[in-house]
Amino acid sequence: MERGAFEEIDHTADLGLDLQGPTPEAILEAAQRGLIQLLFGETGDLVADESRRLAISAPDLPELLKRWCEAIYELLERDGFVTLVSEIESVDPRACEAILHGAVPPRERVASAGELKAVTYHQLAFEPAGDGWRARVIFDV
């Protein structure tokens, strides 16, 4: 799969990501990498030795992106699971299925990650752009 790209948004109070990619799958995959980088930082020393299956539904693509990010954060907050690779099996405007590969580092290391209060609706977007797709998501931290 051709990968998407993420760029951190310079938002005064919160954090956000601008995402670009050739497909919706690439957008979600880039969002996962961007979110983990924003909240957790360096993951180069972690080995993806656990997996989680994820199935999400939503009324539209922007909401799907929001719920995707929420699900990845929920795994981090609740289980200490840091998603390193997302293998997206299918995306349509109302559903997404994926297998997440990641690691569960010591609890103290997870505790030092940034806390996500919410994935907001502010400027939330996920839409076709030229030959590919673009998206934006702002996090309340």
């Binding site: 981090l76 907050e77 609706y121």
Partner: protein, 482 residues
């Protein structure tokens, strides 16, 4: 840089004239210097957007610590008619009843030299869990116990041994907002709430051991039980994952209904429902549950702090004398009576990053503080000074009884981290006499003083505008951060 039209209408007060879909003008409290910062992001556009909220009365207000938020600006105040107006979850924020609590003690700064303070902070760091997924301050609650907390707030904590009756008297609303309705709380919110009572969280939340560095108003300081060089404790936290989930759940319910209400809003995050609608009532019932959860959370933390001080310093409760000064919320929506035009009416005051600041003799100010006005707690940036202020009569005339809530960011988190690169921030703080205990360097870098406005400038504006006045300045000795 915003190009929005602004007109200075009195010292420290700027008006955004009513244009287009705005139902009321905007009003921003700022000095010339702070206004230069404020113009640098999109927060003034957000003040203008809030002015489009259905049923808004008076003005869409911004305090001097305003900065760009999501939907509402942080530092925003909006009052809507209690019958015909709207309630907006975004006007409260995700961290419902995020707030600040201050406790005084009989200790003096000299009682806590670094050799004693370091181990004390280590124990506080252990006693009050912080960081992502923090839990376990108290045993995991059962569902029925959590329901009790949602209905009764701080009183549940006091009745279970986490504090005293006096604590309740010195908490805004007595630590319990009436009308909490757990029926509108989701299973996911309940799940998140079960294990997080008594936890600090992360981001800009903190627990600080401070000293009273300066008194501005002897009578009010005395009335609040504060004296120069006294050791005090400040706790900044909110409703944790429980509150975040409630805000998100209800935004999802309200968004699809906007067309039915006939609401056209410039930002989806401003999504609102008529207060009298089924969705509006459901949100208010759930929001009050989260407010009560947050008060209980801060009450349990204060109790843990008291226990830890006594154990670490080997002193008893009388010698420690740790008594709550006050607890204020700065993310909330409350039904209050205010004069709008020439008429007193009930309004729903949304305070998102703004603090209630009722003046002397207001009936909702606790009896012992009534001659002085409500204590207002304004934390500065991490490791920098904070202020205790008092509500002034101007608050009722100009801001629906509200004032600022903190320093207000001037730098994004990304910029702050870049500016901190290569620096040993904890060592720098130690050289300034402030000991820091944190779960990681990420939030320390994001929350450094250079990322924030000077809180002294912020409180001076509100004093100059006659809204609140300075009582005491607090300087940190030690900081615990998630």
């Amino acid at each position: 840089m915003t190009q929005l039209e602004l007109e200075q209408v009195e010292p420290y007060v700027w008006e955004i004239p009513r244009r287009g879909e705005m139902r009321v003008p905007g009003r921003v409290f700022a000095s010339d210097e702070l206004m230069a910062d404020i113009r640098g992001d999109q927060s003034l556009e957000q003040v203008r957007n809030v002015a489009e909220l259905p049923g808004i009365v008076g003005w869409s207000l911004a305090m001097p610590d305003i900065h760009w938020g999501y939907g509402f600006p942080i530092g925003g105040v909006a009052a809507t008619d209690a019958r015909e107006g709207a309630i907006s979850p975004g006007g409260v924020g995700y961290d419902i009843n995020c707030g600040v609590r201050l406790a005084r003690s009989e200790l003096r700064a000299a009682d806590l030299p670094a050799a004693r303070l370091g181990p004390l902070l280590d124990r506080l760091f252990d006693a009050v869990p912080s960081g992502v997924g923090a839990s376990g301050a108290i045993r995991k609650l059962g569902r029925e116990e959590l329901l009790e907390i949602l209905r009764r707030g701080s009183r549940w904590a006091v009745e279970h041994g986490f504090g005293s009756e006096t604590d309740l008297e010195r908490t805004e609303e007595g630590g319990c907002l009436a009308g909490a309705d757990p029926e509108h709380v989701s299973a996911r919110a309940m799940e998140r709430g079960l294990s997080q009572v008594g936890t600090l969280g992360s981001g800009n939340h903190f627990l600080e051991v401070q000293r009273v560095a300066r008194i501005f108003d002897d009578d009010r300081a005395d009335g609040y039980g504060l004296a120069e060089d006294q050791v005090v404790i400040m706790i900044h936290s909110g409703s944790r994952g429980f509150g975040y989930q409630i805000c998100d759940d209800h935004l999802q319910r309200i968004r699809p209904k906007l067309v039915d209400y006939g609401y056209r809003l410039p930002d989806v995050q401003l999504a609102a429902a008529p207060i009298e609608s089924r969705e509006g009532k459901a949100y208010l019932g759930a929001m009050r549950c989260a407010a009560n959860y947050a008060w209980c959370n801060r009450q349990v933390m204060l109790h843990k702090v008291r226990e830890t001080f006594q154990a670490a310093l080997g002193i008893g409760p009388r010698e420690l004398g740790m008594r709550l000064v006050y607890d204020v919320c700065h993310n909330i929506a409350k039904m209050e009576r205010h004069t709008v035009g020439a008429r007193e009416r009930e309004v729903c005051v949304h305070r998102k990053g703004a603090t209630r600041a009722f003046p002397p003799d207001h009936p909702e100010v606790p009896g012992p503080y009534r001659p002085w006005g409500q204590p207002v707690l304004i934390p500065g940036s991490m490791g920098n000074y904070s202020f205790v202020c008092a509500g002034s009569p101007g608050a009722m005339e100009k801001t629906f009884g509200s004032t600022c809530h903190g320093a207000g960011r001037r730098m994004s988190r990304t910029q702050a981290k870049k500016a901190s690169r290569g620096r040993d921030l904890i060592k720098e703080m130690a050289e300034q006499g402030v000991i820091v205990r944190a779960t990681g360097m990420r939030t320390v870098a994001e929350e450094m003083p250079h990322a924030y406005k000077d809180v002294a400038d912020v409180v001076e504006v509100m004093e100059g505008a006659g809204v609140s006045r300075r009582v005491a300045e607090l300087r940190p000795l030690g900081v615990v951060k998630g």
